[in-house]
């Protein structure tokens, strides 16, 4: 049994070409059952890692070794076809739509994350489009979709509007002098101290960022084959 030494520091999947290849494999294989697709991506990724290690051991430049490995692996569509054939799954070749290679996965999902945060500023319509992209994606699970939808509806636009309302509904009825002291009575303001309001504002402001980070991390995990 021959063995190939792998450099633990060299993960070929970090090279743009390999990442792009794995992205395309994920995109092409979105009609496969998720467990089948995850296994294929994992196997291919391991293959590239071993091939790069073998290539560099033979004196090749790592990026050249990675390119050779990808070329020998063949087009991602061919691997997906082989997987579909072996698992008895019918796969139609998508050319448009969310399952199209280079479609929703590569561009739609980052756009969705952006629109969920700032889509409200695009004539209010950007946010619903972001929600549609969010729910069309097979990358995110139900809990991520619910989070993306409800934190917060219309994203930062709603924060701006609600924040504006809260600060403008406080009405102060002027000042009067009684016994040498100035008193100002205000009505309609929030029923909590200012610091609580500040804390709520920060949480409300940060929540969409945390949700966006969670969505992005899930996407990366799926693309890297680390998620099921």
């Amino acid at each position: 049994m021959t063995d190939v030494t792998v450099d633990p520091g060299a993960d070929p999947a970090t090279s743009p070409e390999v990442r792009d290849y794995l992205d395309r494999l994920r995109a092409e294989g979105r009609q496969l059952p998720p467990d089948r697709l995850d296994e294929v991506v994992y196997d291919v990724r391991s293959h590239v890692r071993d091939a790069v290690a073998a290539g560099t051991a033979a004196g090749l430049d790592p990026s050249l070794a990675a390119r050779n490995a990808l070329e020998r692996l063949g087009p991602p569509a061919e691997i997906v076809r082989a997987e579909a054939e072996q698992s008895g799954v019918t796969v139609t070749a998508p050319t448009v739509g969310p399952d199209a290679p280079g479609g929703l996965v590569r561009y739609g999902e980052p756009v969705a994350i952006f629109l969920l945060m700032f889509g409200g500023f695009v004539f209010l319509l950007g946010w619903p489009v972001g929600v549609c992209l969010l729910w069309m994606s097979r990358t995110w699970r139900l809990r991520e979709k619910l989070l993306g939808t409800f934190v917060w509806p219309f994203g930062y636009l709603s924060i701006l509007l609600v924040g504006g309302l809260v600060t403008t509904t406080e009405v102060c009825s002027g000042s009067s002098t009684s016994g040498g002291s100035n008193t100002t009575s205000c009505t309609g303001g929030p029923p909590y101290p200012d610091w609580v309001g500040g804390l709520i504002f920060v949480v409300v402001l940060v929540a969409p960022i945390l949700v966006a980070v969670a969505l992005w991390r899930r996407r990366q995990a799926v693309l890297d084959g680390r998620a099921t």
Partner: protein, 139 residues
């Protein structure tokens, strides 16, 4: 054309050596995987490399992985994870008893099959040679 079988229902012959190679590859590749594993367990990359060394057997190395998964699901091969000197653990493939039986059956079939085909091809070659000699005499 009622009553006639559609030509090519069982085996559609299309021109081109590439198609012949594809059909042959499709039929024998999984048994070649079993044959490689009959020698010793292998991790995937090495297994693919051994298969690729046979001219024309593997056109896209990536397509071996779905085949390996299916063989594993069918119980023809087993997989184990073994630590590697460096890097993440590797998936090793080994032949199961069922895989060995399938390989033995294939080896027996293959010998009979190839002998039969070789015989037919030899007869066809001899007939062509006789025809060529006849043509020369006629001229």
């Amino acid at each position: 054309m009622l009553g006639y079988a559609t030509p090519g229902t069982l085996c559609r012959m299309e021109p081109g050596a590439g198609n012949v190679a594809t059909q042959l590859r499709r039929g024998v590749l999984e048994h070649c995987v079993l044959a490689v594993l009959a020698r010793s367990p292998e991790y995937a990359f090495e297994l693919v490399r051994r298969l690729s060394a046979v001219d024309g057997l593997v056109t896209s190395e990536g397509t071996i992985y779905p085949l390996l998964s299916r063989l594993s699901r069918d119980g023809m091969v087993s997989t184990t994870w073994q630590p590697s000197d460096a890097g993440p653990p590797r998936k090793y493939y080994d032949l199961t008893a069922a895989g060995r039986r399938a390989l033995d059956a294939f080896v027996a079939e293959w010998s009979t099959f190839t002998e039969g085909v070789d015989d037919l091809l030899r007869q066809a070659g001899a007939a062509r040679a006789r025809g060529a000699r006849g043509d020369r005499r006629d001229r």
